[in-house]
């Protein structure tokens, strides 16, 4: 079983990101489970969502305490939320940021990091506003590339069938992030 924890803010599509990934993995023939650690949904408040995937049905129904990987939709959370709590030592951190992975050396020492400018990509594809881009589909393109757990074909299919609007723009954002995400760097 692989366990992934998503950290974002209300309005970025964090919960939808984990659900889209669950659907993509299902289309790949896997057993998946996603759910939000729900606060009362407020725009801008930190949001956590969980994803599990396995080759057999997922029975455990609890929060994820020791994730294999984490996905960070808002780089400003780095200073505000204990993001790497429980993260396994060989775990990968994927961050929405236009900076290079090495620039996170002080924050994520000992972990592997990849960065993707998901905010810029989202704005380019008119997803959300420049002040508040909806980065979830872009970050999933990076997840597909970096973690190699899901096929791009089924990720795009899940995005096109499940996003509430701008299906083509969201799919294009995922494609672009897939191509532009950085290499994984051991910090």
């Amino acid at each position: 079983m692989i366990e992934i924890r998503f950290h974002g803010r209300g309005g970025q599509g964090t919960v939808v990101a984990s659900k889209l990934l669950a659907t993509s993995l299902f289309l790949d023939g896997k057993y998946s489970q996603s759910f939000p650690a729900f606060g009362t949904e407020r725009r801008g408040a930190p949001v956590t969502a969980f994803l599990r995937v396995d080759d057999k049905p997922v029975r455990i129904r609890t929060e994820i305490y020791e994730p294999d990987h984490i996905v960070i939709l808002d780089p400003l959370l780095v200073d505000q939320v204990p993001l790497t709590d429980g993260l396994k030592r060989d775990g990968i951190v994927i961050i929405n940021s236009s900076r290079k992975p090495m620039e996170f050396a002080d924050r994520f020492k000992g972990f592997k990091v990849a960065t993707v400018p998901a905010g810029q990509i989202a704005v380019k594809h008119h997803l959300g506003t420049p002040q508040s881009p909806i980065v979830n589909t872009a970050i999933l393109g990076a997840v597909a590339k970096v973690l190699s757990i899901v096929t791009m074909e089924n990720l795009i299919e899940a995005i096109k069938s499940d996003v509430p609007s701008k299906a083509d723009e969201n799919a294009a954002a995922a494609q672009e992030a897939y191509k532009t995400v950085s290499d994984v760097v051991q910090l």
Binding site: T23, F35, F38, T40, R59, I60, R61, T62, Y65
Partner: protein, 388 residues
């Protein structure tokens, strides 16, 4: 067809596939997406139902009772405070013998406010005469919603499908959506017989009942609630034959040769399977019994499952102030009929209130406490509480 659905969507699919005719509901987190999904299904022409928007949950249940007395299949959904506001009407639905089906998303009781999961809302309705069916996964939620209509209508008793807030309601996972024609074969249209509000045959129902007749109505409810045990088994067996998924009121998991048995309900049963496997791999003689029905209480099956065990650890995600967790009360009462040498020692644990996680570690801690103590420290033991 297989699809990734949340628990709340699973409820809505279950109601839609059951050809529900009237939905009367009031939104409340974390239930709201059930009735939103049903409203969407109606708007898209997937469900041919009348949707009654009401000003409160009390009115929602009143409208459901009225519609059911009009002879149609009726559904609502609520949680927590909404279920409490419905309480008076829950009793009425039973007395009026209206087979309303209600999905309750377990939500903790205020004050202080909480939107997260615990069972205090539904266990507080224990005495209302509703059949209560607890679920551990989204597939069970969908399947149980369909079965609930069949059970309720064959007994003319209302039935509640119960799912944990967030751990099911907002959790997405792949589930099998049955073919609607197969569901229609399994669950024919509701037939109220001649007991309905027929304008061509005006009659009065539920009017003042003198002391010389009232008690008989109550006895009939009890008679049919006892009969419900058999009806639930039959419906579950039929469902298993048609759809290939089998459910039981009491289900053992690696419990046959266990010395210590954990008794659980809801999603704790799902996590519990992994916890039991983990403890078994360590060589511990532990098993689990999942109970699906709080009402009617499956006394005989439970006695059979726990007879002769050394220790039984009951996990209650609810409690009754001044007494104990409600499942523990029921289990203590049921097992008292066993002779002393076959009667397990019962450990009652309170855990997971207000959505606090019940993880594999929590279950492991409960098991360790049970194994190590010859007798429980108290009638209920609170897990993970910071005593202040």
């Amino acid at each position: 067809m297989r699809k990734v659905l949340t628990g709340n969507q699973a409820v809505a699919y279950g109601a839609m596939l059951s050809d529900v005719q009237v939905v009367a509901a009031y939104p409340i987190t974390p239930q709201t997406t059930i009735i939103e999904e049903l409203a969407d299904m109606q708007a898209e022409g997937l469900a041919d139902l009348d949707y009654i928007r009401v000003e409160s949950e009390h009115s929602a249940m009143a409208a459901c009772i009225g519609a059911s007395m009009g002879g149609v299949r009726t559904f609502t959904a609520t949680c927590g405070q909404g279920l409490f506001l419905m309480h008076e009407m829950l009793h009425y639905a039973t007395g009026a013998r209206t087979p309303v089906v209600l999905a309750n998303v377990n939500r903790a009781i205020a004050a202080p406010w909480s939107i997260w999961s615990d069972q205090t809302d539904s266990v507080s309705q224990r005495e209302t005469g509703w059949i209560q069916l607890y679920c551990e996964g989204n597939q069970e939620v969908l399947d149980t919603t369909i079965m609930a209509f069949k059970i309720a209508e064959s007994l003319r008793l209302p039935a509640m499908v119960i799912l944990d807030a967030f751990f099911l309601s907002h959790t997405s996972e792949p589930i099998e959506i049955p073919d609607i024609e197969a569901v229609r074969d399994f669950l024919p249209p509701y037939d109220p017989g001649d007991l309905w509000l027929d304008p061509d045959n005006p009659r009065t129902f539920g009017s003042l009942c003198m002391p010389d007749t009232y008690m008989e109505f109550r006895w009939q409810i009890q008679r049919d609630m006892e009969r419900a045990k058999q009806v639930i088994d039959e419906v579950q067996d039929d469902f298993g034959r048609v759809f290939g998924r089998n459910y039981r009121q009491v289900e053992g998991y690696r419990s046959d040769d266990a010395d210590v048995v954990m008794v659980v309900s809801g999603t704790v049963a799902s996590t519990g399977r992994d916890a039991i496997d983990f403890l078994r791999a360590r060589g511990e003689g532990v098993g689990m019994v999942k109970i699906k029905t709080l009402r009617p209480f499956p006394r005989q099956e439970l006695v059979a499952a726990l007879r002769g065990k050394k220790k039984v650890a009951v996990i209650d995600r609810n409690f009754s102030p001044g007494a104990t967790g409600v499942w523990a009360q029921e289990i203590r009462s049921a097992l008292y009929e066993l002779p002393e040498d076959e009667r397990p020692i019962i450990y009652g644990y309170i855990a997971g209130l207000g959505g606090r996680d019940i993880s594999i570690k929590t279950i492991e801690e409960i098991y360790q406490k049970t194994r190590e103590a010859d007798q429980p420290d108290d009638v209920d033991i609170w897990i993970g509480v910071n005593y202040v």
